[in-house]
């Protein structure tokens, strides 16, 4: 390979290195040794078997939401409301887990299905705001995110409040049979791994091998000509959003039924926003999504356990990943390097 080709191969590493350098600088500024910091981060992510399982458990909902977002992005939609869709999925699963009794397999399937339906509905509202009301999906999504979070807080402090009054932090733990079967004492369920792999395969297949995927792609590349060619832009947009919402809702279900065992105040905790960054770093390609999501999970999950071990704050993970994204935007002169496909950069008012 020529030097140029090598440079092109290694280019994606530049933001990673840059992020490490900048974050090290910040750590030094605050009097923390970077070696200690990143060492603790690695320990926190991969130090023990339990920690690796924890990284995988964090990876599941992040990957689910990101996989859904790939479909929305393909249709040219900025589904920033994915955060709220995760929350509504979690709420729907919690409702069944708290209020209904059935044999475990039936209950689990029902919980998953209502979560997907709730996420899809929440996304559908954003899509209808867009197609019928002319409200851009970014603004509609942000508004619905807030409402979903408020709704959760209302449920936790109102109708679903623990009988002893509680701390307003969450509902009572769900009965054992309403929860996903877990691997040992971890927060990871084989069921959620299977669901995630299934979702990734489904998204890959839809975009590569179906007529619907082709229509979404046409819609994303040029909505006007797609419309002229007979693609019903309204229908496909709503369906693409709802598909994304369904996967996000599934992610929410995983959060309440395996990561936690009850509905909590910040049930998603920004996973939706992280998923948007994951998809962007994965160059909007579903095959790269699980790997980027794994990197994010390792850094973020690692920094959570890091806080317990050292004086370092868990915010290190957020700083590291966000600096990396900013550097990708900085280094990624993608049009010239031809590494990235170019999406985004659409006028918001151009409806």
């Amino acid at each position: 390979m020529t030097g140029r080709a090598w440079l092109r191969r290694l280019w994606p590493l530049a933001p990673v290195l840059g992020a490490l350098v900048i974050t090290s600088g910040l750590l030094l500024l605050f009097g923390v040794s970077p070696f200690e910091g990143f060492g603790a981060l690695l320990q926190g992510a991969f130090g023990t078997e339990a920690k690796v399982l924890s990284v995988a458990a964090f990876w599941v909902p992040l990957t689910l939401a990101a996989a859904g977002l790939v479909v929305a992005f393909t249709a040219g939609l900025w589904n920033i409301g994915v955060e709220g869709q995760i929350v509504m999925g979690a709420v729907a699963s919690s409702w069944l887990a708290l209020r209904f009794d059935a044999p475990r397999p039936i209950l689990l399937v029902a919980e998953i299905l209502v979560a997907m339906a709730a996420g899809a509905l929440w996304a559908g509202v954003v899509a209808i705001f867009k197609t019928r009301g002319g409200v851009h999906e970014i603004f509609g999504g942000l508004a619905l995110n807030n409402i979903a979070i408020i709704f959760t807080n209302y449920l936790i402090s109102g109708p679903w409040q623990p009988p002893e009054g509680g701390t307003f932090r969450g509902t009572v733990p769900f009965p054992e049979k309403a929860l996903f079967p877990l691997l040992g004492v971890s927060r990871l369920s084989p069921l959620s791994i299977a669901l995630t792999l299934g979702a990734l395969a489904a998204v890959y297949f839809i975009l590569r091998g179906t007529y619907w995927g082709l229509k979404l792609d046409a819609l994303g590349r040029n909505p006007k000509s797609a419309f002229l060619l007979g693609v019903s832009s309204e229908r496909e947009m709503i369906l693409a959003m709802m598909f994304c919402g369904a996967l996000a809702g599934l992610g929410g279900s995983v959060r309440v039924l395996s990561w936690f065992d009850s509905l909590r105040q910040s049930i998603s905790g920004g996973i939706g926003f992280l998923a948007l960054l994951v998809v962007m770093l994965a160059l909007f390609r579903v095959v790269l999504v699980p790997f980027v999501a794994f990197f994010f999970s390792a850094v973020l999950s690692g920094s959570i356990s890091l806080q317990l071990r050292t004086q370092l704050h868990s915010s290190l993970g957020g700083i590291l990943t966000s600096v990396m994204v900013l550097l990708v935007l900085l280094f990624g002169d993608y049009r010239q390097l031809g590494i990235f496909g170019s999406r985004g950069g659409k006028a918001l008012a151009d409806e």
């Binding site: 910040l26 605050f30 009097g31 900025w78 920033i80 705001f129 009301g133 002319g134 409200v135 851009h136 970014i138 603004f139 942000l142 508004a143 995110n145 807030n146 409402i147 979070i149 408020i150 807080n153 209302y154 936790i156 402090s157 109102g158 409040q161 307003f168 920004g270 926003f273 992280l274 948007l276 960054l277 962007m280 704050h313 915010s315 290190l316 993970g317 957020g318 700083i319 990943t321 966000s322 600096v323 994204v325 900013l326 935007l329 900085l330 990624g332 002169d333 985004g344 950069g345 659409k346 006028a347 918001l348 008012a349 151009d350």
Partner: protein, 318 residues
């Protein structure tokens, strides 16, 4: 209602609305030049942390405010550089800024207290409420509107200025042209990129002030997640205000007003659980927002700047 009750509700309304209004005005100016900055939450968080840390160590709230303004401008400069010069995706850049700002601010909060300890729970210099002579003697309005801190008074001056500048001056016209039709503005001789840089940074400075008002004025101290989603509410209020500074007041006061009523209800010993009351301002603002936005969109009056979110390049067709 008694006069005292009305006054007390108005005081909290204005105090709670101040930081929100600063942030909303900052975002309005940013979006008016065609840049969508979703980093508001992160910039406010950094503004709040910087303002508190700097004023704690310097002993002056004013120096803290200056620090917040600088940090706000700096973070917005990053966004302006990525959106204008690199023509990067504004949504991604904004989201990354929010995560970065939230993370770094929380890190600072952990470390910038005395001797590298936490800032949580510290008392520092603050902007206290000072009644204005004469004006504060007006019944009801006096003790509520003219018995506030200096940042709120600053807002009384800034608001008409920002409105006048935007709609009645030539630079304001250029600003709006850059957000609506950058190509036409360019042809008119308005430097599109420079204008976008200037107002994005200016907007970031206002967001910094918004954060400073939280940690030095309204909440007077540092706590993790001090902004509590106000940055996202500000972005929503921009649409509610249809990108008009004066209409932003209505939204911010609505938010502040429900905050105030909720305080009163809590004081009166209501049986409604506290977290639900805390969330009431958010619910109400968002619901009203959605209804109004939808209604306006249906009646085709929603005035988003036409080039919002679109990077400008002279040689490309728009």
């Amino acid at each position: 209602m008694t006069e005292a009750l009305i006054v007390s509700i108005l005081i909290i309304t204005i105090r709670a609305g101040t930081s929100l209004l600063y942030a909303t005005l900052g975002e309005i100016y940013t979006e008016r030049v065609g840049i969508l900055n979703l980093g508001v939450e992160g910039i406010m968080m950094m503004g709040a942390a910087t303002a508190f840390a700097v004023s704690y160590h310097s002993g002056s709230a004013w120096i803290g405010l200056l620090g917040a303004v600088l940090v706000g401008g700096l973070l917005a400069l990053i966004h302006a550089f990525l959106s204008n010069t690199m023509r990067a995706d504004q949504v991604v850049s904004g989201l990354a800024l929010t995560i970065f700002g939230t993370g770094l601010a929380s890190f600072m909060g952990q470390r910038l207290g005395p001797g590298g300890t936490t800032m949580v729970g510290l008392q520092g210099p603050k902007f206290v409420r000072t009644p204005l002579p004469l004006l504060s003697d007006i019944p009801i309005l006096g003790p509520s509107f003219f018995n506030q801190d200096v940042l709120t008074y600053g807002l009384y001056l800034l608001l008409p200025l920002l409105w006048f500048f935007l709609y009645r001056t030539q630079p304001g016209l250029h600003l709006r042209a850059v957000g609506e039709k950058p190509l036409a503005a360019d042809a008119m001789g308005v430097p599109v990129i420079r204008t976008r840089y200037i107002y994005t940074i200016f907007g970031g400075m206002l967001m910094g002030v918004a954060g400073a008002h939280l940690s030095l004025g309204y909440l007077q101290g540092w706590a993790d997640n001090i902004t509590g989603g106000r940055g996202w509410i500000a972005i929503a209020l921009v649409i509610f205000a249809t990108w008009d500074p004066l209409r932003a007041v209505i939204g911010a006061m609505l938010f502040g007003g429900i905050n105030a009523i909720q305080f009163r209800m809590q004081a009166a010993g209501t049986t409604i659980p506290a977290p639900f009351l805390n969330m009431m301002p958010y619910i109400f603002t968002i619901v009203v927002l959605v209804i109004i936005t939808w209604w306006e969109a249906i009646s085709k009056r929603l005035g988003a700047p036409a080039a919002l979110g679109l990077p400008y390049a002279r040689e490309e067709k728009h």
